[in-house]
């Protein structure tokens, strides 16, 4: 027998012994009937109380983790085999499991508080919310089958209107789907052939949204007969284009810049241009912003500008103060794209902008691939070899013809392709946009955003599930609004300005997460529970595999003291004290 005393063992024994002696002596002296019995009752009462404090336990042989936990989609044959192997094991199931046998159900709370633990988990595994409550639990996980559907999906979260978005992923396709179609609000956007009866058929579908907003796309899987075998909703939030402030400086007007100016102005970007026509004579132009004469490059002007496009001669002829200001603004995040009017070279002005190094190219034309098409363009007979800090944007083979280098927070981009405006004259605006868009976008200033919202909980998310939100801020204390309801946030104890919160949404559909101190908003879609089950279960399998413990855990027999019930001693105490109260009256 062992004890689990509430207080130190020996003082309790000594006290009990002393009290027993005193009470027995006093009882012995009383001149009533049942003297011997009364003395025994006194002893029993004192030692019953002592037992309540000492909490005695009796050693007992039993198996640790003797529970087999069944979760939805478990394999019945596996459960039967385990039960046959370990007859003394107990079967339990979690809510939602249709075990089709007399098995008691454990709630999430019970699982988190179980003292005996569980050796095996069969089926889909424990959901993330339960796993969070038992961080130390280890068990043998025997996964069940994954239902048909998309098990994994990858796509850029930066979905901007008019830009092509690719959705790629894997589909568990045992329902013999032969064709997968991506349908948007306007009908079919793309389709692909599938490998039939593939455990994981990969797919990649693209679409180009025409409008910003929140839309419901759909993956439709059809079989050989053309019948729809699956229909998977795909909510997508498309963001609008944000306009750039661009300053163009040129030593003389060129067709290249004129077409570039028209392209940017037609897309709503705010432009200011300055052409040097003659000595002290300039031509100023502006688009989508008020008329403005850019006479000198001051700090305010460049802080308001996201991108400066200038040619090498204009840079060379800039006044020293302007050039110094340009360098200072570049370090603070300004983007610069440089044109060369002739073969690119280096001089002090160019070096100060940290332009990349160039290497000579034998031919003056190159073949590049744009939007899947091979096109030929003229170059300045130079290219930019791979070098530290250089990020290529357009390449012909392994030769970079457009790219940028980092300089502080800013970037200096270089375009070595010339006569690119021919795409516009040939009526191929998409090729022109594909050629210039990435360079301009990546080189332009990245504006500081006060806050950023990120949903940590992986999708799909179903109604009434906890959703963890992370907010990164630039030094402000944010207020998270979930559909206009303020949510409490806690700041990361280690990292400043990282805030965490948890929300629950009860209804399916789009919900909005917003920061009150900023215009930052993020849409979140709550799915119906029957959708995206394959992805959810696949993710759950991954989480449960991380908890994989020994497969023979159930076989371990241990001797463990089992505490005697305090009710026994309490009952003895009541009986003894009751007798002592009654004995004088008998």
């Amino acid at each position: 027998m062992t004890f689990d005393p509430l207080f130190t063992f020996w003082p309790v024994i000594l006290t009990a012994t002393g009290l027993s002696a005193v009470f027995v002596f006093m009882e012995w002296r009383r001149a009533f009937r049942f003297r011997l019995l009364r003395c025994l009752a006194q002893l029993l009462m004192v030692w019953a109380l002592t037992a309540l404090v000492l909490r005695p336990a009796v050693p007992k042989n039993r198996a640790e983790n003797d529970t087999i936990l069944l979760t939805p989609h478990f394999n019945a044959a596996q459960a039967d085999s385990l039960k046959q192997l370990y007859p003394h094991a107990q079967l339990r199931q979690i809510a939602g499991t249709d075990a089709d046998r007399a098995v008691s159900t454990w709630s999430e709370h019970e699982i988190a508080n179980t003292r005996t633990g569980f050796a095996y988990v069969l089926g889909d595994g424990l959901p993330p919310t339960v796993l969070d409550g038992i961080p130390e639990a280890r068990y043998a996980f025997l996964p069940g089958h994954i239902p048909n559907g998309i098990t994994g999906l990858r796509f850029s979260r930066r979905t901007v209107v008019h830009q092509t978005i690719t959705l790629s992923g894997t589909l568990r396709n045992t329902y013999n789907g032969t064709r997968m179609i991506l349908e948007g609000p306007g009908g079919a956007e793309d389709s692909t052939q599938l490998k039939t009866t593939a455990e994981a058929a990969s797919f990649a579908l693209t679409f180009t949204p025409r409008q910003a907003g929140r839309f419901m796309y759909r993956f439709v899987v059809k079989n050989k007969a053309g019948q729809t075998v699956d229909h998977i909703p795909m909510p997508i939030e498309v963001r609008g284009e944000k306009k750039l402030n661009i300053l163009i400086l040129q030593e003389f007007p060129t067709a290249e810049v004129r077409y570039l100016k028209n392209f940017l102005a037609d897309h709503g970007h705010r432009l200011n241009l300055r052409y040097h026509l003659s000595r002290n004579i300039f031509r100023y132009e502006s688009a989508n912003t008020g008329p403005k004469k850019v006479t000198r490059l001051d700090e305010k002007l460049l802080n308001d500008t996201d991108l400066v496009i200038l040619d090498s001669d204009a840079l060379k002829n800039l006044p020293t103060t302007d050039r110094q200001q340009l360098e200072a603004s570049l370090a603070q995040g300004l983007g610069i794209i440089l044109f060369f009017n002739d073969a690119p070279g280096t001089n002090a002005a160019l070096q100060s902008l940290h332009i990349p190094k160039f290497a000579a190219l034998k031919q003056d034309t190159v073949q590049i691939t744009l939007l899947g098409q091979s096109v030929q363009l003229r170059t300045l007979s130079h290219y930019m070899p791979a070098q530290d800090g250089f990020q290529p944007v357009l390449q012909a083979g392994n030769r970079s013809l457009a790219g940028y280098t980092f300089s502080g927070f800013g970037k200096t981009g270089v375009q070595l392709l010339t006569e690119t405006y021919r795409f516009v004259t040939e009526g191929k605006p998409n090729l022109y946009a594909a050629l210039w868009g990435p360079l301009i976008e990546q080189t332009a200033r990245t504006r500081q955003q006060p806050t950023r919202i990120r949903v940590i909980t992986p999708e799909p998310i179903y109604p009434d599930e906890p959703i963890d939100i992370e907010i990164l801020t630039a030094g402000i204390k944010p207020t998270l609004l979930a559909d206009s309801v303020p949510i409490a946030l806690t700041e990361d104890v280690v990292l400043d300005d990282r805030w965490l919160g948890r929300v629950w949404f009860g209804e399916k559909g789009w919900h909005t997460l917003a920061v009150a101190e900023d215009s930052t908003q993020s849409g979140l879609y709550i799915h119906e529970p029957e959708h995206w089950q394959a992805a959810r279960i696949s993710y759950q399998h991954q989480l449960n595999r991380l908890r994989n413990g020994p497969r023979d855990a159930i076989a371990v027999q241990t001797t463990k003291p089992e505490p005697l019930s305090p009710w026994i001693f309490f009952g003895l105490f009541l009986a003894a004290s009751g007798f002592l109260w009654l004995a004088p009256k008998l």
Binding site: V160, H162, Q163, G184, P185, G186, G187, T208, R210, Q211, G213, R214, F215, M216, E241, K242, L244, K261, L264, A265, D266, H267, G268, L271, L277, R279, I281, R283, Y284, E285, S286, A287, N288, P291, A331, T365, G408, T425, E426, N430, Y432, A433, A434, W436, G437, I440, E441, A444, R445, T446, R447, Q448, Q449, R452, L472, T473, A474, G475, D497, W510
Partner: protein, 753 residues
């Protein structure tokens, strides 16, 4: 059985037989009725008309059949006739059953009892022939025939929508169910007077009308309403005229197709609207004019024998012609002294141009136009229709008539001039002819060696001339049969001739076309020929593709063909000269001269001057470098970045929201926005016929809360909205990112390192 009982049985039997006959006639009626109703309904498209005609046909069939089988004349005597005919055992004594016994003779009474006994025993088994099987067969056949016609027969009643002839005074569009609140709608269409189409009315709201028609809508509502508006895609909404009641009208002249709908405020102040309807405006087609006689586009006449040109033109228009004329331009002179004179000549037959189709003729006397040999006449026929206010015009291609120039201009060297200013090493074709003829004349006076040498020199001159013209054709190097080497290697090069020569009889005699620089030719490397897999580019249309006679762009096709022919003839001329046979060479030389002359005339094309003709800069201001008046300028590129179809773009978000939350109802703002989006979509639908019309109807039903399957309707509308938004090339977008203080420290430290 007593005689009375027998008479009763006979009467019963007669009625039974009458019923059989009636059934027979009825089957015939049904046969004709059903076949006719099916056939006429199919052919006419009107079930009412079909039923009417079928009723008549069936009745006629019934009457004829009844008469044929004697339905209405059938009585007991007829029955007894049948009895006697088909049952011989009654021994033609059936009539005794009907006779009065008291009047019968003994023998007749004996026979009566015999007949009564037989009748009593067998009257139940009496059977008479009938033609019900035949009638059933007729009915079946007629039904099959009718169904066949109904299924596959032609539809004569449905006229195409484009048929807007004046005789069409009734509805021509598809049957459209009017909303319940509009009791009746009548459109009165008044086409423009010049079309000659009379005013007509239509009960259908969707129909085609001629361009410029004035349409009056007259609406009768099923109950009194406060006000009504019409919403046309081309304009904003307009109020219908009419006092508060149930009669409203609206009038408008239509010059382009419209999609429209009505909305009205009901007595209880609630709003209601109709579906969308379309009026397609059939534009007035421009007139056509075709030169009827086989007049070649290029005609050369021998003057003065041929001085009359007869023109026949077939003019036509859909509504009528107003004027037609021939616009003729006479060109005289050559080189820079070419003069043009334009005249407008009316057709002589008919004197007055009117009507839809006219065959007009005119004979042009070239002498009256003041033309002389060598002159040319360019003309085309122009026709104008009767459309008002802006008539349509059409014209033919330009035709060319030239008068052959038979005069000969010889180059003569002034006798008094001591020096021949014409260089020897470059001669025109005419000079080569003169020299060849001179050589032939002097043949006997000179030695054989001199003759051959001169002939060879002339051959060389001919070659130089051919190369010169070949250059115009785009040939940069000597090319031809059996020639591979460079002319410079053979004959000392032609660069010398180009440097000092003066080419005559050439298209570029007056330097209208810039001469190509020899150095440009030398430094021009044809790299593009070596580029593999070069993509075909539209720029090639504007590029100068060298050394390919087929791609040369100096001349139009006909001139090029003539020039090629001239070069071929020059080859032959040179060949004969090189073989010392100048007499054989002469015909080729004359042919070459003729072709060159024709080319010279063909290239004389009159083109109207267009655009701004700046005044010349004064010479004293040129090249001074004076920038005193030159100042910095500013330009402003106006914002063209306005998104098209704004209501449709905003409505997409509303539709997505409604799809996401099926229980949500439309707010008043949503309704207004969707209504506006519907108008924008209607404008798009006009440009894309056949699309979006179902969506417009679904949208209207949605706004009125009458949609049966809201989800399907929303998806349909959303699809149309999305498809209506035009695609655009992607644009770079500003990127944003929260800068954590650690980010800044990290980059700062990088820079420090």
């Amino acid at each position: 059985m007593t005689p009375q009982e027998a008479r009763y049985r006979l009467e019963q039997r007669t009625k039974q037989q009458q019923a059989v006959l009636f059934l027979d006639a009825l089957l015939w009626f049904l046969a004709f009725f059903s076949a006719t109703v099916l056939a006429v309904t199919r052919l006419s498209g009107s079930p009412g008309l079909g039923a009417g005609i079928a009723l008549v046909a069936g009745t006629i069939a019934f009457g004829l059949r009844s008469r044929n089988i004697g339905l209405f004349a059938f009585n007991q005597h007829k029955l007894l006739q049948l009895l006697h005919r088909h049952h011989k055992e009654y021994e033609d004594s059936g009539d005794l059953l009907l006779a009065d016994e008291t009047t019968l003779t003994t023998l007749q009474q004996v026979q009566l009892h015999r007949t009564l006994a037989r009748f009593s025993a067998g009257h139940k088994q009496l059977a008479f022939p009938h033609q019900l099987k035949k009638a059933t067969l007729v009915l079946t056949t007629a039904l099959l025939l009718g169904l066949l016609i109904y299924q596959f027969g032609p539809q004569l009643g449905n006229k195409p929508e484009e048929d807007i002839s004046p005789a069409t005074h009734t509805s021509t569009g598809p049957v459209v169910v009017l909303p319940a609140a509009i009791k009746a709608m009548r459109l009165q269409i008044t086409p423009p007077a010049y079309t000659g189409i009379k005013k007509y009315t239509s009960d259908t709201p969707t129909l085609p009308v001629p361009e410029g028609s004035r349409v009056q809508w007259s609406l009768t509502f099923s109950e009194n309403i406060s006000s009504a508006h019409i919403h046309l895609t081309t304009t904003d909404s307009s109020a219908l005229t009419g006092n508060a009641g149930n009669q409203f009208t609206f009038e408008k002249s239509l010059y382009e197709s419209v999609i429209y709908r009505f909305s009205w405020q009901q007595a209880d102040a609630s709003f209601a609207g109709s579906a969308y309807y379309k009026i397609e405006v059939i534009p007035d087609q421009p007139p056509t004019v075709v030169m009827a006689n086989n007049l070649a586009q290029f005609t050369e006449l021998s003057f003065p024998a041929q001085h009359l040109v007869t023109l026949q033109a077939r003019l036509s228009d859909d509504f009528g012609l107003s004027t037609a004329s021939i616009v003729a331009t006479v060109s005289k002179g050559s080189g820079e002294s070419v003069k043009f004179r334009e005249e407008k000549i009316a057709f002589t037959q008919p004197a007055q141009i009117s009507g839809k189709v006219i065959n007009a003729t005119r004979t042009i006397d070239l002498r009256k136009l003041g033309m002389e040999p060598g002159d040319e006449l360019y003309f085309y026929a122009e026709v104008i229709d009767n459309k008002v206010p802006m008539p349509n015009k059409a014209r033919t291609e330009t035709y060319f008539v030239s008068l052959k120039d038979t005069t000969r201009q010889d180059v003569s060297v002034e006798a008094g001039l001591g020096v021949d200013l014409m260089p020897d090493y470059f001669r025109s074709q005419r000079q080569i002819i003169i020299d060849t003829e001179k050589l032939l004349r002097n043949r006997k006076k000179i030695t054989r060696q001199q003759f051959n040498a001169t002939s060879n020199e002339l051959g060389y001159d001919q070659k130089v001339l051919r190369l010169k013209y070949g250059e115009f054709l785009g040939e940069e190097a000597e090319s031809g049969i059996g020639v591979h080497g460079s002319p410079a290697e053979d004959d000392g090069g032609d660069d010398v001739t180009k440097k000092y020569g003066h080419a005559h009889d050439t298209e570029n005699e007056h330097n209208l076309v810039p001469e190509k620089k020899p150095e440009a030719k030398e430094t021009h490397h044809h790299e593009h020929a070596d580029e593999p897999g070069k993509e075909e580019s539209p720029l090639e249309a504007f590029a100068h593709n060298h050394d390919n006679a087929e791609e040369a762009t100096f001349f139009v096709q006909s001139i090029r063909a003539k020039l090629k022919a001239a070069l071929t003839v020059m080859w032959d001329a040179e060949l004969q000269l090189r073989l010392y046979e100048p007499e054989k060479s002469l015909p080729f030389q004359y042919q070459a001269l003729k072709l060159l002359k024709e080319i010279s005339n063909d290239s004389r094309v009159y083109v109207h001057r267009t655009g701004f003709d700046p005044p010349p800069i004064k010479e004293d201001r040129r090249l001074k470098g004076d920038l005193a008046e030159t100042k910095s300028t500013t330009g402003y590129h106006h914002d063209k970045h306005t998104e098209s179809l704004p209501a449709i773009r905003q409505s997409i978000a509303v539709l997505e929201r409604l799809l996401d939350k099926p229980g949500e109802t439309l707010t008043s703002q949503d309704r207004a926005l969707l209504q506006q989006a519907g108008n924008e979509l209607a404008a798009v639908a006009l440009k894309q016929p056949g699309q979006h019309f179902r969506s417009l109807s679904a949208l209207q039903a949605l706004l009125q809360g009458k949609t049966e399957n809201r989800n399907t309707s929303l998806l349909l509308i959303l699809k149309s909205f999305w498809q209506a938004i035009p695609g655009r090339a992607p644009s770079p977008s500003l990127q944003t990112q929260p800068w954590h203080s650690l980010d800044r420290k990290f980059v700062d430290n990088l820079n420090t390192d």
